[in-house]
Structure formats: C-alpha cells, structure tokens
C-alpha cells in the first residue's frame, strides 16, 4: 500500500513538521497557556474524550471488521493535526488557541493514546494480533517530542532559523497530505471503487461528527462561538499522517493493508470536509464581523 520510500519519507516529514511546531513555541507560551487553561482543557476533553469514543461507537454501529475497527479507533485516539492550524487561520478562528491545542494534545498523546487504545480495543474485544502495542505508540510519540524540543531550542538560539523552520514545518503539513493523495489515489483507484460504503461512512463521519460534537461540547462549556468553531476544527482534524505512520510501523503485509485503509481514507477526506467547513465558518465569522461593524458608527480613516 505504501512503498518503503514513502514510509521513510513520511517519517522524515513528520519529524520536520514537529520541528516546525516546536519552533513556533517558547517555554513562556506554555506557562501562559496554563494560567487560563479552560480553552485548552475543553479542547483536550474533545480530543481524548469525544473522539476515541466516537471512533469506537462508529466501529460498533457500522459493525466494522477488526482491522477496520482498529484503524478507526486509532484515528479517534490521535492528537490534533498541524493542518488544523492552517484551516483555523483561513476560517478566521482563534489561531493561538488552535496552535496550543495541537501542541498540548500532541504532548498528552504520549500517555493518553496508548491507554485509550488499550481501553477501546479491549471494549471492542479485538483479537490480540490487531492490538497496537502501547510501548510502540509511546515510543513513536516520544521520538516526535524530541524534534519539538529541538525546534524550541532552535528558535531560542537563532530567531531567523527558528522562523524559517516554523514556516517550513507548516507548509510541509499540507505537502504530506497532498503527497499521500497524489501518490496513493492513482495506484489504488480499484481499491477505492470496491471499498464498501460503511468504510467511507466511518472514515468521513468520524471527522464531521467530531467537529459537530466538539462544537456542541465547547458551547456547552461556555466557550464563545468563535472559540467553539476553532475547537470544532481542532477536534475533527486528527493527525492523519501520524496514524498512518503508526500503522505502518506496527503492522505488516496484508494486515497492514487492511488496517491502513481507514487512516488513509480519513486523511484524504478530512482535507475536503475541513475545506468545506472552513469556508462555511469563514462566512459565519465574516457575517458576525459585519454585524458588529453596522452596530457601531463608521470608523474613521487612520
């Protein structure tokens, strides 16, 4: 499904993306974020409360086979993807919140993802050969935290290098997804044609329903609409490439093919569904801004 070269490339790109994310940060940012942690806590609740359960629920409701189920649950357990920051930017959301949520969920992932995977695989009573070893996942995540820290150090050492790495990492987030789509779709169009509808429902649904639930939960917990939209995007957009990477490094052969199907389809379709949602959110934000503009008297030229 993925060639050796593609797998290696994916690994390298993930490291670069994390390097870029680290370079966008200072240690101060963390300390500041945790002075008023409501937004981030709500985000983490969506990320690790709502999404894994949603993955499990969809797997049960759709009666997915074990390889598909573990793929879906894995995607549910993933931390937020860095592409969510780009979508948040375009949807005129709260960028700082989005970035902090991505980072916090990635750091928490080291502990949360192995535990959650264990719980939901157990609940679904998956055969042991389909279990993702907790140590394996933790290892991959720890490996990704290292470049994040290096990125932070780079920025402190030389702001020019830091800012360049930051931009590069952000751009690569998009490149990885495009790369996956462009190399994978043409080679696998037959597979796509024969994949049953419930697999599509699962792969697309987890993202869209995740956004919906994320929004509701955020509103319920008294986040304002703009922050709630940001949290919605952040919740629905998982780190797809990371999911793919974990599958590739854990399973092999025919089994890998089967487990990989949902993470790859998810990564593919989340770009499309997030783009649509982004345009919709952007419209809402623009309308809100306009309404505010009309409520006040015309601003004078500066």
């Amino acid at each position: 499904m993925l060639t050796e070269l593609e797998t290696k490339l994916l690994g390298v790109m993930m490291v670069l993306i994390m390097l870029g994310m680290g370079a966008s940060l200072t240690f101060k940012d963390f300390r500041i974020a945790f002075r008023k942690p409501q937004g981030i806590l709500v985000g983490l609740l969506c990320q690790y409360g709502v999404m894994p359960f949603l993955g499990y629920l969809l797997a049960v409701l759709l009666g997915l086979s074990p390889p598909l189920a573990i793929g879906l649950i894995l995607m549910g357990c993933m931390p937020g993807g860095t592409t969510s920051n780009i979508f948040t930017y375009f949807s005129k959301g709260v960028l700082a919140l989005s970035i902090m949520m991505t980072i916090c969920s990635t750091l928490v992932a080291v502990a949360a993802v192995p535990v959650l995977l264990e719980i939901y695989s157990g609940l679904r009573a998956l055969p042991s050969e389909y279990k993702v070893p907790a140590g394996n996942v933790a290892q991959i995540l720890v490996v990704l935290v290292v470049p994040t820290v290096i990125g932070m150090v780079l920025r402190k050492w030389n702001p020019n290098v830091g800012a360049t790495v930051e931009l590069l990492g952000g751009a690569l987030g998009v490149v990885v997804i495009l790369f996956l789509i462009l190399t994978w779709v043409p080679r696998n169009h037959r597979l796509l044609a024969t994949t049953p509808a419930d697999v599509y429902t699962a792969a697309i649904g987890i993202g869209l329903v995740g956004m919906l639930l994320g929004y509701w939960l955020a509103r319920l917990l008294r986040q304002d609409p703009r922050r709630s939209r940001t949290i919605a995007l952040e919740t629905g957009i998982q780190n797809g490439p990371l999911g793919v990477l974990i599958v590739v490094l854990t399973f092999s052969g025919e089994m890998q093919q089967q487990v990989l199907l949902i993470p790859v389809l998810y990564s593919l379709f989340i770009v499309l569904s997030s783009s649509a949602v982004t345009i919709w959110f952007r419209g809402i934000t623009t309308r809100e801004d306009l309404a505010r503009d009309q409520a006040k008297v015309q601003a004078a030229p500066a």
Partner: protein, 558 residues
C-alpha cells in the same frame, strides 16, 4: 524659567551620526524585528558607511543641491536610519512622510514640500502612479522592510508577503532600488573621496534639517520647519531628563512608534543613536502581538509609547505574565497618559513610566517628568532645560496662579515657522512664543498638567468639562478597554458629555458607566450618553482621534 540649556554637543545632525558611528563602531545600532522573529541588523559602522553612500547618491548621482528636500516614506525598518542620516550628510532636508497616507495626502505633502527625491517602501509604491507627475519628484527610490536582512530570511519574508499576504504590489513608476542607489553612491564616493565633507561644510545649527508635517490646530497639513539646532537642542533637553537611567553603549530601546513621527524620530532615533544604544525597530505595532518577539528576543531597557500602546501591552497576557526584566524606564507622550495605565504599568513592570509633553512644532519635547527626580502622576512634568512656558487667557494675558490657560512655549527647540505659510506661522508664532492650543495649569513646584486641547473643552451649561478628566475616571473601570469623550450639541445644556467606549468582556453598559462616574465626578461632568463600539479611530501613533468621532456624529446628524 527652567534650568539653563545644556551644551549642544554636535554641530549638525550629520556630525551626530559620524561621532556616534566612530565611538560605537562595531556595536549593533539597529535591528528590525518582524512579527515572526525574523530579523536583520546594522552596526554603527554599517550605518555610517551606507548613509555616506546614500549622501553621495543624492549629491553626485542625482545632482541635488544642499537644502533640496528628500521625502522618506517607510515604516520602521533598517532603510530608515540609513536614508535619514544620508539626507543629513548630504546637507539636504528630510521630509518625513506617513506611509499610510492616501495618494491625495501624499500628493499634497510632496507638492507642498517641493521634494525632489522620494524614498518609499515597496508595500505602498503602487500609490505613486497618477500623482507623481503633479510633484517635483524626479527620482523614486524603492526600499524594503527587509532591507539589509540576510539572504534567506529576506527571501522567506518576501515570499510570504508576496504569495500569502499579497502585499507586494508591482511598482509601476520608473524607480531605482535602494541597494542599487547605495552601490551607485559608493562608486561615486570612491571616485571623489573628498566630496563627503564638502556637502555639510559651513552648515550651521540654523540650517533647515527637516520639514515635519502636522495637522496643527487648523487641520490642513503643513510642514514645521525644524533646524539642526532645533532638533539637537531638543535632544540635549530630552536626554537631560533621562540621563540618570542611560548608560552609554549599553541600552536597548524598543521603537514601536513610527520613526516618521516626531516623537520616535527625536527620542528613539536621535537621542538613542547619540548614546550608542541598540534600537529594535518594529515595522508595525498593530496588532500589539507583533511586539512579542521583540520583547522575547532582545533585552529591552527603554520603551517609548503612547497611552494606547501601553494599555494594549497591559492587556496582553504574554506581557503581564513575563514583563521585560531589563526594562529601566518607559516614556509616554503623544496623548494624555491615563492614571490607571501609569499605575498598572509601574505595578506590572516595576519600572518608572514618565509622561512628557511635546508637539511637532517644538521638535517635540516641551515638558517632562524627570526620570530620577520628582514625578507627579497626571502631570506632564516641568519645562525642559532652556525652555520658557507661559499660561495665558483668551486675551493673551497671563492667568492667575493655579488657573488654566493656553500653554505658550519659547525655547531653542521651537520651529522656525510653517514652510511657505506666513499666515499660519503668524498665528502660531507670536513674538517668539509658540501657541500650542493646549490648556494647562501649573502647580507651585512648576509641574504642568494638561487640562485639555483648547478646542476639545466641552461647555456644559457654562461649565468647562475637560474630556481628559472624564476619560481618566472611566478608564478605571475594569470593563473598559478604551474610552474617548467628546461634547455633543444639547438643547438643554448647550453641549453635553458623550463617552465612547470599547468594552472588554461583559457588564459595560450606560447605566454602569454613569453610576461609576457619579462616584468621582460632579454631576455636570458625568456623560449624558454612552456609546459602545468595537474600535476607536486613531492616528498613526495610536492617539485616539476625538475629531474623527465628532465628524462621525455630524455625518450621522445629516
């Protein structure tokens, strides 16, 4: 009469540039810090060499004469000091121009000043076609915000500006890039090594240095004629007020206000170049998060700002959680510093914030609270050295002690007049006294307090209400981010007080504001109406424009 004027140490501004460059040679003079932390720097030696080249470009390549006007229209960036000092070294006259001007405002200023050359930032160079033909500008030099950056950061920033933000328009008028101009100037210098000294030979303190445009009291933009002597005297006057907190060669000053404005031009550029400071230039302080990287990456010791800037910083968590540790002092000018902002600043940063008062026509500093002496809250301080101040009534007679009167200034920093406007000059300068249009009172210790702009005073049933006082009270409310107070026509009281408020969070409504005001203000000063809005009209340095609010009301009434 204030303390005697300290000795002016420099013979003209080019002399200042040369002496500092020689003394602080390899130290960093300027660093431009972009919002994402990318940066570029010039040392004192670099600035000297590059401004020499620019001077030669003006005089040799372009053939400009001494006294020719050269307009400079860039945001804060490394090109700014190179060009400004280059203009002074060429014996030419600097015309600071706001890059945010509309084409018609630009046309007015370029025509009025008779500028023959224009240095403009590429971001706004697309405003030139259509107006250039109506001016005397023969040469357009295009500068970049990333001028003198390393190749990689420059390429990255320009790519992002061009492809992502789409703010790099094509320049459609004939022009030369600043790098090219500097190369031509350097070549001309090499061919004619002795030329440089000749440009400023025999130039005295009385020579015109800059035309600094200002709306002044009558609205139409006109050029205040500031000589080398005006600017250098004011440098010494301002320096004397802060000298106790300045160590030569060791300061790092944050320049968030635009250098084309007289406050930052005098205080950040001239004063701190003279003391060998590192000057951190931020191209745009709005949104205020743009300053975060500058505070993170550089050991800022001095900040200059206006009330709105300090207020904005104090509402940023990254600033209040980690206030700059090396900070020694901040100076506020441009508009009244609200008491609550000053108190919060001192509490958060643990350093002094000193308010001063000045105006373009006085290069600009007139009064200051001495940093290490007695500082009085709500006061603009004492007259700077060598400066006389008088408070007079409408008939021009000195007012009684403690009574408000229009502030008049006489001193070495007062301009020569408005460029080619004898009528306006005669109104502003009478018998050597500059009429400021500001109403002030003075206490027994010689500390002045600006009561308000003469024309902003609100007349409620015959009582004078000073908007500053009301604003200061309203600003104490936690729910208020920004406030402006103006007078509106009222059938019962002639004029009535109206407050405009930018709220933060909920709980800010008319009833709450009025209830708050009644606790601190006499009844006639309490706003009769309160309007909430999401932002305030502001000047380029961030002063809230009451004039624009009044205009909005007039539009509404129509």
């Amino acid at each position: 009469m204030s303390a005697p004027l300290p000795v002016v140490r420099f013979t003209h501004l080019a002399d200042l540039a040369r002496k500092s460059s020689a003394r602080f040679s390899s130290q960093t003079a300027f660093t431009t810090c972009m919002p994402n932390g990318m940066h570029g720097s010039l040392s004192y030696t670099d600035v000297d060499r590059l401004s020499d080249a620019f001077a030669a470009y003006l005089r040799e390549t372009l053939g400009l004469a001494a006294g020719a006007r050269v307009a400079l229209q860039t945001p804060n960036c490394l090109a700014y000091p190179v060009v400004a000092f280059g203009v002074f070294k060429a014996g030419c006259v600097l015309v600071n121009t706001n890059p945010l001007y509309t084409p018609s405002e630009m046309e007015h200023q370029l025509r009025d000043s008779g500028a023959e050359a224009l240095v403009i930032v590429d971001l706004f160079a697309n405003k030139l076609q259509g107006i250039l033909a109506n001016t005397k500008v023969r040469t357009v030099v295009v500068a970049e915000v990333t001028q003198f950056f390393g190749a990689v950061p420059r390429a990255v920033i320009r790519a992002v500006m061009k492809l992502w933000y789409r703010v790099l328009p094509a320049v459609l008028v004939p022009h030369v890039r600043l790098a090219q101009a500097l190369a031509e100037g350097a070549a001309a210098l090499e061919a004619k090594p002795g030329a440089l000294a000749s440009y400023t030979q025999g130039q005295g303190l009385e020579a015109l240095a800059a035309l600094q445009y200002t709306g002044g009291t009558t609205g139409l933009s006109k050029g205040a004629m500031l000589t080398h002597g005006n600017l250098l005297a004011n440098l010494e006057q301002a320096y004397a007020m802060g000298a106790s907190h300045i160590e030569e060669g060791r300061e790092c000053v944050l320049t968030a206000l635009p250098l084309y404005h007289i406050f930052a031009f005098q205080f950040n550029l001239l004063c701190f170049y003279a003391v060998g400071a590192r000057n951190v230039l931020v191209p745009s302080p709005r949104p205020v998060q743009n300053l975060q990287r500058a505070f993170d990456n550089y050991p800022i010791t001095w900040v200059s700002g206006v009330n709105t800037l300090f207020n904005a910083l104090l509402n940023e968590e990254w600033f209040t959680a980690f206030p700059p540790r090396q900070l020694k002092a901040a100076v506020a000018g441009g508009a009244a510093l609200q008491g609550v902002v000053a108190q919060r600043w001192q509490r958060v940063t643990g350093t002094v914030i000193a308010e001063g008062y000045g105006l373009t026509e006085a290069s600009p500093v007139v009064c200051f609270n001495p940093i290490s002496g007695v500082r009085k809250p709500d006061s603009i301080g004492i007259a700077v050295a060598g400066t006389e101040i008088r408070l007079v009534d409408d008939a021009g007679q000195p007012v009684a002690d403690g009574q408000p009167g229009e502030l008049l200034v006489r001193g070495p920093q007062v301009m020569q007049g408005y460029w080619q406007r004898p009528d306006e000059t005669a109104l502003a300068l009478r018998d050597g006294w500059l009429h400021t249009g500001d109403v002030a009172v003075v206490d027994a210790d010689g500390y002045y307090r600006i009561v308000d702009r003469k024309k902003d005073v609100i007349l409620v049933s015959g009582f004078n209400v000073y908007p500053n006082e009301v604003e200061d009270v309203i600003a104490r409310m936690d729910e208020v981010l920004e406030v402006a107070v103006i007078g509106v026509p009222d059938p019962q009281t002639g004029e009535a007080v109206r407050a405009f408020i930018v709220p933060q969070g909920a709980g800010c409504d008319e009833a709450a504001v009025r209830a708050h005001c009644r606790k601190y203000l006499a009844d006639y000063k309490v706003p009769k109406s309160v309007k909430l809005r999401t932002e305030m009209p502001k000047t380029p340095i961030g002063k809230i424009l009451r004039k624009a609010l009044r205009e909005e009301l007039r539009e509404e009434a129509r």
